[in-house]
């Protein structure tokens, strides 16, 4: 277990300005998109639910941005809009999936955060928490068998609550036995829906679990962009270097409801006012500006660019055709001639 406290992260031996700037931009885009999704939900334009990652962007984006979009695998969970954007998921995939467009990656068959393009190494999560860990392990094992594992990292994210699932345990243990280059981010955001961590686990810190799996554990103040980048980058690098599974536990607070239907009134004001409750986006902007990696004007520009990109992604998805039940082939099998 290691914990880094960096003012400006020294990455690959130097201050990687591009990475930091890109990560902050991704955070801004994610925050902007999610605010829009929330309004669409509240306006009744999105059915089902909307699940945001407000306050978790630094942690999630750090992972998405530290991965190699051409080779790596990224299996996000509920609160990983930032990581998805960082890993290259086009915004239109989010808006199309939320709006049920026939042209989105899920073609209206699945919705909201349950989206991905597995062929582009972006699995589409099922709801059952913890299942992505063994999935990513299998994607890595396939590459190992095909001799294509060199330089590849598989990453996935879970919440504090998801660590209580048998699937998480079995998956991480399997990955450890196989010594796979997997990075598992645990966003310990103090709650699973309304359930506080004391009702979820009894260890002091979830990073204490790493050792029991034979996995390298790291802990990070996930409200701190620079620290997130430094630690996540380190973990990804270690996995890529063949050091086996890496677990990174980020400490933070979910700054939104579980979904947009939830006002999260169960979150104590003291917690919101605590260090955990700080907004990683504000901190990140401050850090970047303070270190002179971008000017306030640049940040403002990024914000307005983000607003435009989001607007476009929403507008485009809104003009898409809806899926047509008469056109759907209603086939759960890819094999031709298999009728059930």
């Amino acid at each position: 277990m290691e914990s880094s406290a960096a003012s400006a992260p020294i990455i690959s031996g130097r201050l990687d300005t591009d990475l930091i700037r890109r990560t902050l931009r991704v955070m801004i885009i994610s925050r902007t998109l999610e605010a829009k999704l929330s309004s669409l939900y509240k306006a009744g334009k999105i059915v089902g639910g909307v699940y945001l990652g407000t306050g978790q962007e630094a942690f999630s984006a750090s992972l998405g941005c530290c991965l190699n979009q051409e080779k790596d695998i990224f299996a996000p969970l509920i609160r990983d809009q930032a990581g998805r954007t960082g890993f290259g998921e086009p915004l239109i995939e989010a808006t199309r999936t939320y709006l049920g467009s026939a042209l989105g990656p899920m073609r209206g068959r699945d919705g909201n955060i349950h989206r991905g393009r597995p062929a582009e190494r972006r699995p589409a999560m099922i709801s059952h928490l913890g299942t992505s860990v063994s999935l990513v392990a299998g994607m890595l094992i396939a590459r190992r068998m095909k001799g294509e594992l060199a330089e590849v990292v598989g990453a996935t994210c879970v919440g504090d609550g998801a660590t209580s699932t048998g699937a998480f345990h079995e998956g991480l243990n399997l990955a450890a036995v196989e010594k796979l280059p997997i990075v598992v981010l645990v966003a310990d955001n103090q709650f699973a829906y309304s359930t506080p961590r004391e009702r979820q686990f009894a260890c002091e810190n979830l990073v204490d679990r790493a050792r029991g799996y034979g996995v390298t554990g790291r802990e990070v103040d996930a409200t701190n962009l620079f620290e997130c980048l430094a630690v996540v980058h380190e973990a990804v690098k270690a996995a890529r270097a063949g050091e086996g599974p890496q677990m990174v536990v980020g400490k933070l607070l979910r700054l939104c409801g579980h979904g947009e239907h939830d006002d999260a009134s169960y979150v104590a004001p003291e917690l919101k006012d605590s260090k955990l409750g700080r907004d990683c986006l504000e901190i990140g902007i401050q850090q970047v500006v303070d270190e002179g990696l971008a000017t306030s004007d640049e940040v403002d520009l990024w914000k307005s660019e983000a607003a435009e990109e989001v607007q476009e992604a929403v507008a485009n998805a809104q003009t898409d055709p809806a899926p047509d039940p008469y056109q759907d082939d209603w086939q759960a099998f890819s094999s031709k001639g298999i009728n059930s």
């Binding site: 068959r109 919705g111 829906y193 309304s194 359930t195 009702r199 809806a322």
Partner: protein, 321 residues
């Protein structure tokens, strides 16, 4: 005062907690938060220590409940969505379901499962699971369609010494209201003639009872009198009521919201033909959801499950056979 289906579930749990010391509730977010669907709202405050938030551990939640049940308690476990009970499947089917036969000690647990589709819920927040559990020995499967049944069957389920899987339909939670809880409930194990008729029988359960009635109402305008039988529980299955109805009508449509392969409708049809073949004037038909995952988009979803229209169409087919 009118009560919704979810009110009935809330009220039943409240009374159970008040009336019986051995009842407690366990589930994700059911404490202070009152549950994802508010079925336990305020109950922690009213019954401190008897409404417990669980970790996200469906297997252990049911394993724990089994342990408590064989130690004299009557736990009610809430799954946040029925779909997540797949994680508890082993504990329900292989542990709870086998316990009495193996050891002679019954396992009085009730597992509440918010089932069924609503628009936009998608493949993993919409499933019907009655078939999954009814297939396995030793598990009672209640499937209330009405507010009164939600209330009475839940109370009865907790009184029963055997494991009960209680399949609540989410679509009915807030939509379905009654002005008065039926003061003379039918016991679990008895079906109800929801709507009498004489030309054909629709045997169904849960939310589909209401869709069947809608279809029947439309056909009534054309002079067809369709009988709708609400099974109320799919295990046990009240064949007496079903056969008596088929004897009256000569025609059977078995209707369900579950996946089509196997399941309630197949069981109903198979029993009817085995026990009452001579009563049938036409081949018994089935209507289920489609054999794909449950889609997210409301238009796809509406076409995936039976609707008054598709039921009507199937009934016309049946009446013309």
């Amino acid at each position: 005062m009118s009560a919704t289906y979810i009110d009935a579930i809330h009220q039943a749990q409240r009374e159970l907690l008040a009336e019986r010391d051995d009842v407690f509730l366990y589930g994700q977010d059911i404490g202070g938060f009152g549950g994802a669907f508010k079925a336990t709202k305020g109950l922690l405050e009213e019954f401190p220590g008897r409404v417990m938030d669980s970790p996200i551990s469906e297997d252990a939640m049911v394993g724990m409940a089994i342990g408590a049940a064989i130690s004299g308690m009557r736990p009610i476990v809430e799954m946040q969505f029925a779909d997540f009970s797949s994680i508890a499947f082993n504990q329900i089917a292989n542990h709870a379901g086998t316990h009495y036969y193996r050891t002679g000690i019954p396992v009085p647990i009730t597992v509440r499962l918010p089932c069924g589709g609503t628009p936009g819920s998608g493949p993993f927040h919409s499933q019907m699971v009655e078939t999954l559990y009814a297939h396995y020995p030793g598990i009672i499967v209640a499937t209330p369609a009405t507010v009164s049944d939600a209330y009475h069957l839940l109370k009865e389920s907790v009184e029963i010494d055997d494991p009960v899987v209680f399949c609540e339909h989410k679509f009915l939670y807030r939509w379905l209201k009654t002005s008065e809880i039926d003061p003379e409930p039918l016991p679990l194990g008895m079906a109800r003639i929801t709507r009498p008729g004489k030309h054909a029988t629709v045997v169904t359960y849960s939310a589909m009872v209401h869709e069947a009635v809608r279809a029947a109402d439309r056909l009534a305008k054309e002079g067809w009198e369709i009988e709708v039988v609400d099974l109320r529980s799919v295990k046990p299955l009240d064949m007496d009521t079903v056969i008596a109805s088929v004897a009256r009508t000569g025609r059977l449509l078995a209707l369900g919201e579950g996946f089509p392969w196997g399941g309630v409708t197949a069981e109903v049809v198979s029993r009817v033909v085995a026990e009452g073949f001579h009563l049938l004037d036409a081949p018994p038909l089935r209507l289920n959801s489609k054999d794909t995952p449950i889609p997210y988009h409301p238009d796809l979803w509406a076409a995936h499950r039976p609707t008054p229209e598709s039921i009507l169409e199937k009934l016309r087919e049946l009446l013309n056979l």
